[in-house]
Amino acid sequence: MRWFFLRALAITLLPLCALPALRAAVVEGVVLDEETGNPLARTQVSLVPLPGTPASSTPVRTGPRGSFVILSVMPGWYTLRATRRGYAPAESGQLRPGRPGHAFEVADDHTTGFLEIKMSHLPAITGAVFDENGVGIAKWQVHVYSSGKPVRHIAQVLTDERGNYRVGELDPGTYLVRSGPGQLDDHTPVLATYAKAAIELADATAVSLRVGETKPNVNIKPVKGRFFTLSGTLIPIPDRTATLTLITDTGRKEIASAYSKPLPFSTAGVQPGPVELIVKGFDTLGNECGSYTKLLVDKDKDNLKLACSPYGPASFTFSGATPTGPVVIRRVDLDGAAEEHALKRNELLAPGHWEIQIPPGDYYISSVRNSGTLATRAGAWWGFDAGTYTRVAILLSSSPASIAGVVTTGGNPVAGAPIFLTNLGTGQAWTGRANPQGHYSMGGLAPGNYSIISGFDLDPNDLANAQKLSTVSTSEGNTSTQPLELVLP
């Protein structure tokens, strides 16, 4: 009732507000919770112009009753997007939660119809960790990993006193859930175990999540097993301190700290599988030193010699083209990715695994090599191991390929049709929109094979099974034309 009043008030006042920008229009509406229909106050709403609409607008927040008014909107075609913590981003006119919305035209000096955006919660996984009798294990670690390769640790929680857990705010996608390693109250060692009761990744049961979904009963029965011991010597620089950290895919802990002299260390209770050993410290000049060792633990390991070695600034050289913006970098350990940041000039990269992302532009990334070794690729990220000397060479090609065409339905172009493009070789995916005339163009592509599809009711996480998926081959510097028939719901 109240937001109807606000709407009426807004409409009454709008002509006055719009006076300074005579050609500008007004977009108004309300944001609601999909499940309850209740208004969502304080939600950020923004207009996203379609290709060809040379405008930008400042995001606004919904009022106490979920309503919003965007003033001074330049004429053109837009989609309307809402974002809010705990909810999946939503667009006006979307057919289902998680699907792309419909574009609309904003005409000169005009108020659009009252738009409604319904938001759905981000997915969650719930379940329990059970002992051999089916009784919940209290205060036990539960880890969530993305299931796509490389498997990445993305969240960690503890079970409650009844053995239940809940992991929320997950993006739609496919996940693996795993209980952590540890000892039961009678000191029985229990291995990290994937749902439902798997030690090996290949036997894990993946959990697929859609927007708004809470997947219940993802239960885990941890498997009893044997832990191993790592031992060796931590070697600091004389008169300086070094610390040794053990990282596994279920967490990390500092296991030794040595001052000036080599110090024997031994750590028991190590879960079988990959581990990382990180040494950190300083040299006599106060510069950072360190080392990085990755091991596969399948038995007790002894005589490890881990030194704190000085390292210098990393160098990144680009050839072929200049990046259009800052390169983003993040450290990725077995227990997950650290916060990403813009790569600084002469940045010191501590020994370990790092990933960079190069902003898109009128080029494609031909190769990334660290001291001659090809970087690994995970989507838009390129990974390499930093060491004592890190020299990363990035080859950009200024003759990228592109794919363009028109999206139609029944012979008519579809304004703002969503485009889903996937590189079949690397798995990297892009999304785009057609312009008001149904034309689309996806540029900055490497030569290769791509799948492409357009539709308003496509699940971005399940495109491989979509009907009418077109395959396009691209070559260096060329534009491949691919007309697309809109996939109808």
Binding site: R61, G86, H121, A138, D160, R162
Partner: protein
């Protein structure tokens, strides 16, 4: 002589072993009837049965076994994380169990017919959500749980999940108050701490009662918009030989939590403070400072970190003075306090745990004399500043209540007996409580009691959180040094 003694003790041991029996059973979850592995099971002798308590852990199948149990009467008590302590033979989870008799020479090893199984029930849970004006859950929001008995004490804290839901588990049976914290929302709206269901005053709070095993859901806290304030100021502390300030920390404490607001001397500022009292605690190198400040607007304070001063204590005899810090966000751990130890300023509570030949009559802080106070559960409260000097008065003439439990309907062996010291100003809220068990002849005693008015009751059917069955309780007035012999009729429903 030595060898004769050794021979005698071996003979005694052999006799004991010959007379000893085996006690076994399985621990089950009441709800699922599943066996509870790795559960601690204690065998507790009743008064009059020789020996101390022993405990074992159940195996993978939830089974336990006590070998070589000497003859006598015992309670079997199981404890496990997330479950209420349970006793063999209890009429209902949360109630006292019945003792078992181990007869001499019985050696049935694991005959299922002799199994003494114990059923355990989960501890209570309170669940709910914190919602905004539109009944939308607020994610990542702090929630606190308080005891409802005044003065309310914060006993647990939680943070709402992505849907604004919260959960407090492992709760003792009792009555609680749930309250959301204060803070700013995504826009300029600020919320003040709000009680379940609605309101900002504790008097408006709706109490939530839970019994063992209860899951109270739908505790929806409707948040209230209101002003939050800013607290700024300066903190000063000691300096080193070069005149540089030594490191210190300044912690801001409210009744919904605490946060670090400064890690060095100098200016500080803390935003989003709800109206009400706040405490500022400065801690540094051999220094500590404390201020309690009412916040009803943006305010500026100066906090000093003066040197810590030693405590002087007199009158405790051989007993240590036990102290616990009580800040606005709850009570800290108990710690024995020796004369000369340093006590940071703030609100503290003190007690002395005496043996039966004494009782704690009073504690006075002679540097800051205050009128005599009524201790709660034996604790005396003081605001400490400077160098406190405690004068403890222990009486050597404690009172005793002894008696025999009787019942025509039920055996009084091991009967639970509850005793409460009444507060003449608030009869429904006792000053202190005790519990014991009758021995195999139904006899019981409470020693080391201060004079006062008492309420006494015996029953197997009283929940541990129930106020004693007042109508049927026996009331006793005790003078210093008096021994009261009380025949006590067991309450049998």
């Amino acid at each position: 002589m030595k060898s004769a003694l050794k021979c005698l003790s071996l003979a005694a041991l052999l006799l004991l072993r010959l007379n000893a029996a085996t006690l076994h059973g399985t621990i089950f979850d009441e709800e699922t009837q599943l066996q509870l592995a790795r559960t601690r099971v204690a065998l507790i002798p009743l008064p009059g049965t020789a020996g101390g308590a022993v405990s074992v852990q159940t195996d993978e199948r939830g089974a336990y076994l006590f070998p070589d149990v000497p003859p006598g009467w015992y309670l079997i008590r199981a404890t496990r994380l997330g479950y209420a302590a349970a006793e063999y033979g209890q009429s209902r989870p949360g109630r006292p169990g019945t003792p078992v008799q181990i007869a001499a020479g019985v050696s049935a090893v694991t005959d299922p017919a002799d199994a003494r199984n114990v059923i355990m029930r989960h501890q209570a849970v309170i669940m709910g959500s914190v919602v905004d004006d539109n009944n939308i859950g607020i994610p990542g929001w702090p929630v606190s749980l308080y005891t409802s008995r005044p003065p309310i004490q914060r006993v647990a804290e939680a943070t709402t999940d992505d849907r604004g839901s919260f959960r407090f588990g492992e709760l003792e049976p009792g009555t609680y108050i749930a309250r959301s914290g204060g803070g700013g929302l995504d826009d300029t709206v600020t919320l003040v701490p709000s009680y379940f269901k609605f309101g900002t005053a504790v008097s408006s709070a709706e109490r939530v009662r839970v019994r063992t095993g209860d899951i109270q859901t739908l505790i929806v806290i409707h948040t209230v918009e209101g002003p939050l304030y800013e607290l700024g100021g300066e903190v000063t502390g000691p300096v080193d030989a070069q005149g540089k300030p030594r490191p210190l920390r300044l912690t801001l404490i409210t009744d919904t939590g605490r946060r670090l607001v400064a890690t060095s001397a100098g200016r500080f500022s803390a935003a989003n403070i709800p109206p009400g009292n706040v405490e500022l605690l400065a801690e540094g190198f051999a220094c500590a400072g404390y201020q309690r400040v009412p916040v009803d607007r943006n305010i500026y304070v100066h906090v000093e970190c003066p040197p810590l001063m030693p405590v002087s204590i007199a009158g405790t005899g051989d007993y240590p003075l036990i102290a616990r810090r009580c800040d606005l966000d709850g009570a800290g751990p108990e710690q024995p306090l020796a004369p000369g130890s340093m006590l940071p300023p703030g609100h503290w509570e003190f007690t002395v745990q005496t043996k039966p030949q004494n009782y704690l009559a009073s504690i006075q802080n002679q540097t800051n004399p205050a009128p005599p106070q009524t201790p709660v559960d034996g604790w005396f409260a003081f605001d400490i500043a400077g160098a406190p000097s405690f004068a403890v008065t222990l009486s050597t003439k404690p009172a005793t209540i002894a008696g025999t439990v009787s019942s025509p309907a039920k055996s009084s062996i091991g009967a639970p007996v509850y005793l409460e010291l009444l507060n003449p100003d608030a009869l429904e809220v006792p000053i202190r409580s005790w519990a014991t068990r009758a021995d195999e002849r139904g006899n019981f005693s409470f020693k080391g009691l201060p004079p006062g008015s008492y309420r006494l009751v015996s029953s197997f059917e009283v929940d541990s959180d129930d106020p004693l069955a007042r109508d049927k309780a026996t009331n006793i007035a005790l003078h210093e040094g008096e021994t009261a012999n009380v025949p006590l009729a067991m309450i049998v429903p």
